[in-house]
Symmetry: C2
Subunit: 290 residues, 2 copies
């Protein structure tokens, strides 16, 4: 069994890992060469510049997940439709060089009135399933566009995207709240949990966001508290849409600073959290090889 070159090619960065036959990470690299920053749109050249050395051993295989498979990426790899497990991804691999370099399709959920899509997170989910030895569960992948996915029998049954991180950036940088909010302030747990609690009351984000300003006007939130309170409002709003009854366990995959916030918020809802980071991506890509 050859080495696997596992690549996560996202919007803002390009990351890779060389894995041995047992899936151990031998080497990692990362560059700010996300699909929107590929010089002259030359994906093949950029790939070669980063990974030619790693691909030298005969029989090397490279699997690429993430936005590289989007319309704006290297080659558009049509979504696999939910319910889907690793098998559906393997069947729909989009080979750039047959047997050598393939793009992993994203997932679509077309079961409701409004479709939903992911690219890259599906691999992280299957990786975390493998690492946690789970075939069923509720998964959250926080970020610019957070994903909540329900897994049963090893397949993603359905999922939903929440623009939580993007809303935080918009409100903290471009809205009236930007004047009185220190978006980069460290987390204030008490203010964060006040925001989570406020969101749970169900008045809705359009109203609660204005509350950040009103609380500031009345001296009841400082600029640093405001940032954490807004973060809590948004993550709380996201959680309000989830079924967390009966002490659910949630698998959180992402950067530790983010999954820690979700763990705090979910703790308030009596949900248990297990967190995974980048290792889930590599384990997920490894799981697609025989």
């Amino acid at each position: 069994m050859p080495d696997l070159i596992a690549v996560d090619w996202g919007t803002s960065s390009l990351r890779g890992a060389r894995l041995d036959a047992e899936g151990r990470v031998l080497e990692e690299k990362s560059a700010p060469l996300g699909i929107l920053n590929v010089p002259n749109g030359d994906f093949a050249g950029t790939f070669a510049a980063q990974f030619t050395d790693w691909m030298k051993p005969a029989g090397s295989v490279c699997l690429i997940s993430g936005m590289a498979g989007s319309r704006q990426g290297w080659v558009e790899a049509p979504y696999a439709a939910c319910p889907a497990g690793p098998g559906e991804l393997v069947k729909n691999l989009h080979w750039i060089e047959p047997g050598r370099i393939a793009i992993v399709p994203g997932l679509s959920d077309e079961q409701g009135d409004v479709p939903d899509v992911m690219r890259g997170e599906e691999v992280q989910i299957f990786g975390a399933m493998r690492l946690a030895n789970l075939k069923d569960g509720l998964f959250v992948l926080p970020g610019t566009h957070s994903k909540w996915a329900t897994v049963r029998g090893g397949k993603v049954m359905g999922f939903r995207t929440f623009m939580t991180g993007e809303f935080y950036g918009l409100l903290g940088q471009h809205s009236i709240l930007a004047r009185t909010l220190e978006a980069d302030a460290p987390l204030d747990e008490a203010a964060f949990l006040r925001g989570v609690t406020r969101a749970a009351a169900g008045e809705g984000l359009l109203h609660n966001a204005f509350g950040v300003r009103a609380l500031g006007l009345f001296g009841r939130l400082t600029p640093t508290e405001s940032a954490s309170y807004l973060s809590g409002l948004l993550i709380g709003e996201e959680m309000r849409a989830q079924d967390l009854s009966g002490g659910a366990e949630v698998i959180a995959i992402g950067a530790p600073a983010l999954t820690a916030r979700y763990a705090l918020a979910l703790g308030q809802r009596n949900a248990r959290v297990r967190s995974f980071g980048a290792e889930a991506t590599w384990a997920g890509l490894r799981a697609l090889l025989p």
Copy 2:
């Protein structure tokens, strides 16, 4: 009884009207001299340049509503607290020149866990009450920061702000949706009502906003439809927080293009709508004189 110089001094514009003893509008003017655009912060000079002629007749009185009474305005006029009717505004007029020029206080609602504030809309509400001959009702003032107010016995009992217009601008100009959405497209009623219906299903704005992108990816919303759909999502989200049971009547005050959208959305909820425009401001300021 002297002429009244009625002034609405907001964030982006300065508007005035000269009213006779019966409240008829004799003359109107408007300039792009909102409180954020006052040269050198010289409010007195800017006021004089616009209104000295109108103030010449002996006994002329000028009442100013809007953001001119905020911390960033001419003089901070502390909020009157709800419940409040015209009498509470009169008691709390902030006189710049006694008996001659006064700033109307805004309203605060400090009855819940999170306070809320308005400046200027309170005058429009009291004006529309007078024009509609109403002492009770549900009022909406759509805009950057929409206000919903409950009036009973001629007093504003409480109100809530929704950042609907500002969210539309943020999402249409600065978010990932901006790429595939023509924010200035004319209203597409069918797409707008699809958005309103979608919001009513209660999945929340963070998720529904991403749906605009997903529907576009699947060719189920064009860029012009996307703008109207997003507008419907936002206005629908705002309405979801209102009690509109039993065929409520809603008084909408604002620009006709906006109140027309609210009338459409409210029609879908079986609410009746009566709309008022700028005349509500002048009638409201007139109602504060004996």
